[in-house]
């Protein structure tokens, strides 16, 4: 049987020479958490099953820095590495691939041009294509007419989920759950599913969202957004069919060590790699 995966995510600002890991609350940068490859190595040694780097830099010079960050990381980290942020073409993907990354994730580019998923899957294999979905709850009234949107009953009320792009700065009107189903058809190998409502809050994962998507697609779902303590990881694995759980800040500031988290999950009956 497959283990559930624990994935630390490092948001990287690449505007400085070696890059730096930042942790923002609702996309506002607030603290620096260290050099990307040093942090990645620490997580690898603690038992991370994968590492994700998200490039949150807006400038163009970042490409060369990202290559350096990937190269430095894969010299010392022997678990899969995923790169996200700003990947919009075969050329972009090839660059991170050649530097040593195993997968790339894309959000904005895939929504704007869904065929890109198929093209990249053809080039690099579906296993390399992670589609990132940033989903925001849109609450509705019982009787409201909302077309073909998939409505989910959450403890906070009925809602559908809207996809956002450009790092949460723009909304698309697109149904996130339906988009996950389409992305699978187009050739996505995994879905990195972030709850915009929970991201940075430490209130726990959006369980209805993660359940809704993981019940509807067969490719692995990585739950993201809201993890603030050990119990949140347990809940998302226990109550939904997600394959992996991603977190950032709880690992960065040594609030939780990955080996400790895995021991906790094992004791609770969740199968993880120890």
């Amino acid at each position: 049987m497959l283990c559930r995966r624990i994935i630390p995510c490092l948001d990287c600002d690449l505007a400085v020479p070696n890059g730096r890991v930042v942790k923002g609350i609702e996309f506002k940068k607030i603290r620096y958490a260290g050099v990307p490859w040093e942090l990645a190595e620490r997580y690898y040694k603690e038992g991370a099953d994968e590492i994700v780097f998200l490039d949150i830099t807006a400038s163009h010079e970042r490409r060369e820095t990202m290559v350096k960050v990937i190269e430095k990381t894969v010299e010392r980290v022997f678990v899969p590495l995923t790169i996200g942020g700003g990947i919009g073409s075969v050329e972009d993907a090839r660059k991170v691939f050649n530097a040593g990354a195993d997968k790339f994730s894309m959000n904005t580019a895939a929504i704007k041009n869904p065929k890109l998923i198929s093209i990249l899957a053809e080039y690099f294999g579906t296993q390399a294509c992670v589609v990132a979905i940033d989903a925001k709850r849109r609450y509705i009234r019982e009787s409201e007419e909302i077309g073909d949107k998939i409505v989910i009953d959450t403890p906070e009320g009925l809602c559908w989920y809207e996809c956002s792009i450009y790092g949460g700065r723009r909304f698309t009107g697109k149904d996130a759950i339906r988009w996950a189903i389409d992305a699978e058809q187009l050739g996505a190998g995994e879905i990195l599913l972030t709850s915009m409502d929970r991201d940075g809050t430490k209130d726990g994962y959006d369980l209805p969202l993660n359940k809704a998507v993981s019940d509807r697609v067969k490719i692995p779902i990585i739950a993201s957004g809201g993890c603030g303590e050990l119990a949140h990881m347990y809940q998302v694995f226990k109550k939904t069919n997600v394959s992996a759980a991603l977190a950032a800040s709880i690992f960065h500031y040594e609030e939780v060590y990955i080996n400790e988290l895995k021991q906790f999950l094992t004791n609770k009956g969740i199968m993880v790699r120890l």
Binding site: M1, L2, R5, D49, F78, F124, K218, I219, P220
Partner: protein, 196 residues
């Protein structure tokens, strides 16, 4: 210990290179058959069988020659699958046929691709590749599985059913998982290959 990693434009070869380097061996990336020398050969690979077979074509005779002179070979993931005769993934291209059998689409109700960490069971304790590896989790990423017709399966994993996770036939080895992405257990397996 010079190890030739065959670069046939199928996926991430840098990971294998880095892991072998980390283990203090001397990996060399080889993109032409004429450069295929050294003590050992690694065939890495991620992607589709048909394209892999096509791209590997120029290396075929050189690989056979090396195997006949008892040079150890390790095929990783698609590099294992290509050792077999054929694959359901391609109706036109053939494998290297070093191991009898074929590659099939994974038949399971579980999620495919089989992505993630799964438990390795060693079936042939004498296999030097798995020396001192009694149990452990390794990283898989694949949608097709090797079904050898010879008794070469040295390790398996369970995903709906028993899946061939490792093969061993004389100087020929293969892993369906990625040892270069499998943490300490994976590094141990690669170290065993380096120390053969």
């Amino acid at each position: 210990m010079k190890i030739s990693i065959i670069d046939y434009k199928m996926g991430n070869i840098k990971s294998v290179y880095n892991a072998l380097k980390f283990l203090k061996s001397d990996p060399v990336i080889v993109d032409k058959p004429s450069k295929l020398t050294g003590d050992k050969i690694v065939i890495p690979g991620v992607g589709a069988f048909g394209k892999a077979s096509h791209n590997l074509e120029p290396f075929r005779s050189k690989i056979r020659e090396s195997l006949n002179s008892a040079i150890p070979l390790l095929g990783i993931c698609l590099g294992l699958q290509i050792l077999l005769e054929e694959s359901e993934e391609s109706s036109t291209e053939e494998g290297l046929g070093i191991i009898k059998g074929k590659v099939q689409r994974m038949k399971t109700d579980l999620r495919v691709p089989h992505i993630g960490w799964n438990n390795l069971k060693i079936r042939k304790k004498a296999c030097p590749l798995f020396k001192d590896v009694t149990r452990g989790y390794v990283y898989f990423v694949h949608s097709y599985e090797a079904v050898p017709e010879e008794d070469v399966t040295a390790a398996t994993t369970h995903y709906g059913h028993e899946i061939c996770a490792g093969v061993w036939k004389e100087n020929i080895f293969g892993t369906q998982f990625h040892p270069e992405k499998s943490g300490e257990v994976g590094l141990k397996i690669l170290k065993n290959f380096v120390e053969l």
